[in-house]
Amino acid sequence: MYQSLSDQYVARADCAVLSVRVSMPGAAAKAWGGEREKTLSDDLKKELIVLLPRLRRFARTLTRSASDADDLVQDACLKAIVGSEKWDHTQPLDRWVFRIMRNHWIGETRKTKVRLGEGHVPAEEANELVQHQTPEDALRGSQLHSQIEQLPTDLAVLLLAVSVEGYTYAEAAEVFDIPLGTVMSRIHRARKTLAAQLKQDAGAMQ
């Protein structure tokens, strides 16, 4: 579903490739003026590129599809670059971009739903509606591992944020825009579900 959204951008994207390549040499870019602004955004771009593996992991967990995830990462990075003045520098960049990604993804999935005539849905449910594997995902062998895959998205992504990215409950609550108390109950449910799954898998192997 998300793919069909991005289809709209194919023609424009081709133009973007051309203009991007043409404008790339440093001298031309400098002609834009705003040298300081350019330096800041160059720094931001470099930091974003370093973060790419982690941004992709977050997006993959959220979207369940490698190609949707890469589109989402790209959109979020572009938003971050364009809106760099909104970044509170006392906060780590990754947390800000995770938040952008999460909000953007919810917006995209909601739009898709409305277009399909299914009306508005609560944001919490929205990101579980679009779970598919494109042929490209299959080709790249890039699905999440099955046990994590079987967790509901909301749980998986919270587990990633807290257990792996090391976020406090308060930080996670801010990224996902949920009450603090909900973080603990979801993270617990994630672990319980995963533990039950592992137990079941171990049983099946015997």
Binding site: Y9, A16, R21, V50, P53, R56, H188, L194
Partner: protein
């Protein structure tokens, strides 16, 4: 013991007050069932960490890094960011993207997948396109710590065979220990639409120096020092390949390292 089981997770994450923590500790001492439950949670947690950790080793599509690097700093249209999106997906695939995809299948977790510029083959061919791509890769991978390489240095023989066969030029891993550089392993990348062998070295301070080669029937004949994408590079050619040695700015021995590498490959 009467407390909400969710607190076991709060306990694991260090999110409880000292009073609640004490309560759980006491309960764990006296209740083996509870201790077993905590153990299961911890096992699930470490399983998840491992699975998520593995995802970091997956190759980043170079088109994505390029799209970020080349992103306009101001919105170009009222539709905001989406209009600026560079197509990452493979629609009318040029021949080399099929090669890249085939490699991905054969090798399993092969290097980057680059379709972002697939409508501009004449630009792709232009020098020094592959060096710009290498700079992007260096930015991504030199920051990866544990996930620096795809195949570890302990499998050096395999790395040489694998990369030689894939890149189409002889890949020999130079010994750079005289410059304080230890070989850490290799990766297969795709730059400017062609497979590239990347050999990673680190110095005592953990700084990453990468040697990359790309097959070319008419290799460069001179050593050149360049600065591309915020990194120092030394390029040269030999045999059927062009080489580049890349590091962070400010390594004054880079050319000397390059000459050692050139003499041994």
């Amino acid at each position: 013991m009467s407390f909400d089981r969710e607190k076991l997770s709060g306990f694991l994450d260090g999110e409880l007050s000292s009073e609640e923590t004490r309560e759980i500790e006491l309960a764990l001492e006296s209740d083996p069932t509870l201790a077993a439950e905590l153990e299961q949670l911890m096992a699930a947690d470490s399983f998840a960490k491992q699975e998520f950790e593995e995802m970091l080793s997956e190759p980043v599509p170079l088109g994505l890094a390029a799209a970020v690097r080349n992103a306009p700093i101001e919105p170009s249209a009222p539709m905001a960011s989406n209009t600026n999106r560079v197509q990452l997906r493979n629609r009318q695939a040029p021949w080399w993207s099929a090669v890249a995809a085939a490699l991905a299948l054969v090798i399993g977790s092969a290097g980057g997948y680059f379709t972002g510029l697939n409508t501009q083959p004449q630009i792709i061919a232009a020098a020094p396109g592959w060096l710009t791509d290498i700079a992007d890769y260096h930015r991504v991978y030199s920051a990866q710590g544990r996930h620096l390489v795809e195949v570890d240095a302990s499998e050096s023989d395999h790395i040489e065979t694998w990369l030689t066969n894939t890149v189409g030029a002889d890949v020999v891993i130079p010994d750079l220990e005289s410059h304080g550089l230890n070989f850490r392993g290799g990766r297969l990348l795709v730059a400017a639409g062609k497979p590239v062998a990347q050999m990673m070295y680190t110095d005592a301070a953990g700084q990453v120096v990468a040697l990359c080669l790309i097959a070319n029937p008419e290799p460069d004949d001179v050593f050149r020092s360049r600065q591309i994408g915020g990194f120092d590079m030394v390029t040269w050619g030999g045999g059927d390949a062009n080489f580049v040695l890349v590091s962070d700015r400010g390594r004054d021995d880079l050319e000397a390292v390059a000459r050692t590498a050139a003499s041994s490959v």
